[in-house]
C-alpha cells in the first residue's frame, strides 16, 4: 500500500465521519463542518482522478467505519477533531524521501489538511497554532 493509498483511505473515513457527525451540529460549527466535508470530497475526487490518469487501481471505500456513537454536539466536535488530526498525520507520513510525484501529492494534501485542522480547532475553541501538524506525540 502506498502513502497515497493510505491517504485516500483516510479521506474516505473522514467523509464517512462527517456524514455521521455534522447532523449533530448547529450554527457556525455546522457550516464549517459542511465546508470541510466538501473539501475532503474534493480531495478524494482529485485523488481518484490521479489513479485514473496513471492507470492505477484506487483502493475502495469501506462500507462503514468504526466510530464512537455520537449523541450530542460535543461528541461530534470531538470526533471531527480526531478525524482531522488523523488525516493530517496520515498525509504527513508520505513526506519522507521517496517517489517525487507521490511525495508532492502527499505534501499538497498534508498542507491542506493542516489548514483544515487549524480551522476546526479554532471553531471548537482549541488553540490552532501547531509547529508540527500531525506529528505523533
Amino acid at each position: 500500500m502506498t502513502a497515497v493509498d493510505t491517504g485516500l483511505a483516510a479521506e474516505y473515513a473522514a467523509i464517512y465521519a462527517y456524514g455521521a457527525a455534522a447532523v449533530h451540529l448547529d450554527g457556525d460549527p455546522r457550516a464549517l463542518a459542511e465546508e470541510l466535508e466538501a473539501e475532503h470530497r474534493s480531495r478524494r475526487d482529485a485523488l481518484l482522478d490521479y489513479y485514473d490518469a496513471n492507470g492505477l487501481e484506487a483502493p475502495s471505500a469501506e462500507a462503514g467505519y468504526d466510530i464512537e456513537p455520537i449523541t450530542d454536539a460535543e461528541g461530534a466536535q470531538r470526533l471531527l477533531l480526531a478525524v482531522e488530526e488523523r488525516v493530517t498525520a496520515t498525509w504527513r507520513a508520505g513526506l519522507a524521501p521517496g517517489p517525487l510525484g507521490e511525495r508532492e501529492i502527499c505534501l499538497d494534501r498534508y498542507t491542506e489538511s493542516a489548514v483544515s485542522l487549524a480551522r476546526w480547532r479554532l471553531a471548537v475553541g482549541v488553540a490552532a497554532a501547531d509547529p508540527w501538524p500531525g506529528r505523533p506525540q
Binding site: 488553540a127 497554532a129 501547531d130 509547529p131 501538524p133
Partner: protein, 131 residues
C-alpha cells in the same frame, strides 16, 4: 521574498592543531534552504509577536530552534528582519513562506524533507487562521 537560496555558507574550516600539522581541512557546507528557513522563521516570529499573535510566534520560535540544531555548527547569525504592518501582511508573508518551504521539501531527498514539509503546513495553517 526571504530567500537567498543559492548563497552557500561555508563555515567551520577546522584545522587540526591550528594549522600546525598536515591534517586535511574539513569544510562543512550549510544547507542553504535550512538557512533560509531559519531566517524566515525568525522574521515571522518577530512580527507575529509584535502583532500580538504569541501562539503563532511560539510556533516559529520552535521551528527556529529545530533549524538551528540542524544547522550546527553553521547557524546563521540573527539579521535585521522585515516588519509587517498588520495581520493581513503577516498572513501574506506566512503564505509565501509556506510556499518556500514546499519548494525546499520537494527539492531535497534528505530527511530534512519531513521538517520542511511540517514547516510548510504549519505556516499555511497560520495564514489561514490569520486571514
Amino acid at each position: 521574498m526571504f530567500t537567498t537560496r543559492r548563497v552557500l555558507l561555508v563555515g567551520a574550516v577546522a584545522l587540526a592543531a591550528a594549522g600546525c600539522t598536515r591534517e586535511t581541512a574539513t569544510i562543512i557546507i550549510a544547507d542553504p534552504d535550512l538557512s533560509d528557513a531559519l531566517h524566515t522563521a525568525r522574521t515571522l516570529a518577530h512580527n507575529a509577536e509584535a502583532l500580538g499573535y504569541s501562539d503563532i510566534a511560539q510556533d516559529h520560535l520552535t521551528h527556529a530552534a529545530t533549524l538551528e540544531r540542524l544547522l550546527l555548527p553553521n547557524v546563521v547569525a540573527e539579521e535585521a528582519v522585515a516588519t509587517f504592518a498588520d495581520a493581513a501582511a503577516l498572513a501574506e508573508a506566512e503564505a509565501e513562506a509556506s510556499i518556500d518551504a514546499v519548494y525546499a521539501c520537494l527539492g531535497t531527498d534528505t530527511d530534512f524533507a519531513v521538517v520542511f514539509g511540517e514547516i510548510a503546513a504549519s505556516r499555511a495553517a497560520h495564514a489561514a487562521v490569520l486571514a
